[in-house]
């Protein structure tokens, strides 16, 4: 299955979608599609254009050129109707802390136009889904991060949207809660809900079916987590194990052939172009400087390695004062 031609019905389609603010191009002719029930992750440095892209898809910002359809609706022509078919949840999503669980759900149900018997059913569903049965009257302030996150998700899906946007959804929740949260997302996706996620954390990106990597307003990579890992950095990542990473970290930053060095506890990850040739070079380089190591060997890249390799120093905002 090619990532560019997903099977099944496309629920989000963009064609050369662009947004310019004066002379600045925030989103530069981005084309992709997301099929029904798919979970698509958007990754990119701060300022890469992710938020602008999401805002256009939510009907909150009008594209400068190109086209975007969400659930069959053109975002430029039908922004209001687009907003009715999407659910949105963010790390900044503010539940009302001094209201109870059920009061929050009723409040957001009202905003989304869910009323009467349907509201009662949906509120019950959301409480069940969030695992908050028996806690409907608990004040939100007394809930832990994981509960809040699941409640926020419940609020975002009260109106049964076919499209769900998650903006850094599990920021600041623990791994166990994150796993539970993602089980809920998988359940929604199996019911046909299409999910778009932005995140800075690779733990979270790994949960997506496909990942779109955005840099300087452009789509620079698109594929499943394993496809990206096979493509961008496979065979180019080395592990250097040593007793003291400090001196090696400093020295290897200027070693020939080394594109990136990152410390991981008692080891370093090096990104190189040609491991077969570079391993002996690196060993000679370290030996010549009297620096000790226990092991240099190729390892499988993580998504973070892929990210660093594809984005590198292309941080637009940080590159120009």
């Amino acid at each position: 299955m090619s990532p560019d031609a997903p099977e099944g019905e496309a629920r989000i389609v963009t064609e050369r979608l662009a947004k310019r603010f004066g002379a600045f191009t925030a989103v530069n002719e981005v084309s992709f599609s997301v099929r029904r029930g798919e979970i698509m992750g958007f990754l990119g440095p701060n300022g890469a254009g992710k938020s602008t892209l999401i805002r256009m898809l939510c009907g909150l910002l009008r594209p400068t050129s190109g086209r975007a359809e969400v659930a069959g609706l053109d975002v430029a022509r039908n922004p209001e109707r687009v907003r009715a078919v999407i659910g949105y949840m963010s790390q900044k999503f503010s539940l009302y802390n001094d209201l109870s669980v059920i009061e929050n759900l009723r409040f957001f149900g009202g905003i989304y136009g869910v009323r009467g018997k349907r509201l009662a059913e949906r509120v019950e569903f959301a409480i069940e889904m969030a695992g908050l049965a028996g806690r409907a009257d608990t004040a939100v302030a007394d809930l832990s991060g994981g509960w809040k996150q699941r409640l926020a998700l419940g609020c975002a899906v009260l109106h049964q949207p076919p499209i769900l946007f998650l903006d850094e959804p599990t920021s600041g929740v623990d791994p166990t809660s994150r796993r539970r949260f993602w089980d809920l997302i998988y359940a929604l996706s199996e019911q046909g809900v299409t999910v778009l996620v932005t995140t800075h954390y690779m733990d979270e990106a790994e949960y997506c079916n496909r990942i779109a990597l955005i840099n300087r307003g452009r789509l620079v990579a698109l594929g499943s987590p394993s496809e990206l890992k096979r493509g961008a950095a496979e065979g180019r990542l080395l592990l250097v194990e040593c007793d003291d990473v400090g001196p090696l970290l400093e020295a290897l930053e200027s070693a020939p052939g080394v594109r990136d060095v990152a410390p991981f506890g008692s080891s370093l990850h090096l990104l190189v172009d040609d491991p077969a040739a570079d391993i002996p070079k690196i060993e000679r380089f370290l030996a010549a400087r009297g620096l000790g190591w226990t092991r240099v060997e190729p390892i499988k890249p993580t998504l973070e390695d892929v990210f660093v390799r594809l984005v590198g120093d292309g941080r637009l905002e940080e590159a120009t004062p």
């Binding site: 166990t176 991981f264 905002e317």
Partner: protein
Amino acid sequence: MTASSPAIIVVQDLAKRFAGGFGIDGMNFECARGEIFGFVGPDGAGKTTIMRLLGGVMTPDGGSIRIDGVDVIADPETAKLHVSYMPQRFGLYEDLTVDENIEFFADLFEIDATSREERAARLLTASGMTPFRKRRAGRLSGGMKQKLGLTCSLIHTPKVLLLDEPTAGVDPVSRRDFWRILYGLREEGVTIALATSYLDEAERCTRLGLLHEGRMLHCDTPSALKKLMPGELMSLTSPQARAARDALAGLAGVRAALLVGDSVHIVVDDAKLRTGEIEHALAAAGIVDRRLEPLAPSIEDLFSSLLGQGGAS
């Protein structure tokens, strides 16, 4: 590292109780000079509480904390000279520029003019922030705000740096810059203790304390902790990942089959013994396009195995 280097942080029988049963209870640990010690654990495990107690911004109900020989509880003012605490939301002044924020914190710690300029210049260079000295803090990206927070926290050359979720909302490239600075500080002999919910960060620490309900369940290097993982892990990559997960559920020896993106992470009692049966079950379910391979456990896998899925909240 613990045995050979002298301990700079010594915590004994530390306790702090809150209403609702939260808090920490009888905690003991030591950090050696130059360690990067990470606290990981579920919400409510006590990560932030530990940071606050070590930082002297909260008083414990019992036990003792010594930092470089100074009793933090008896003599918090002396301790504060050696400790810097960067909370989850560091209080930058958004209307002030990068330089003005640094000035403010330097004044607070009574750093003289010459050494403050020298130190600020060095920290800003290390974090790639030099071109932005005149920019207002409110106009910095998330990653740059964190780096400025770190610069302000370090203006008085602490012996111990405490960081609570230091890179929340920071992109991976900036996060690498941030960690490079931390490793640089470590070279200068600064000891770092941090709390994190992300395995991205936990894997970078030299030692980890796994907290649960206010107690430290395990404390060791990331690689040693991973050896505690019960059973073995395998990864199955397939376009039919969901069908594969369903086919694996209930198979003998399969303890868990978790969907992770386009893969299924399978926890088995014995990978060698079960591979044949797993391949057979997948073939029988019509899953042709598949790749089954051993997977090294991550801290997150360990966490899930030890604490049980959902068991913590």
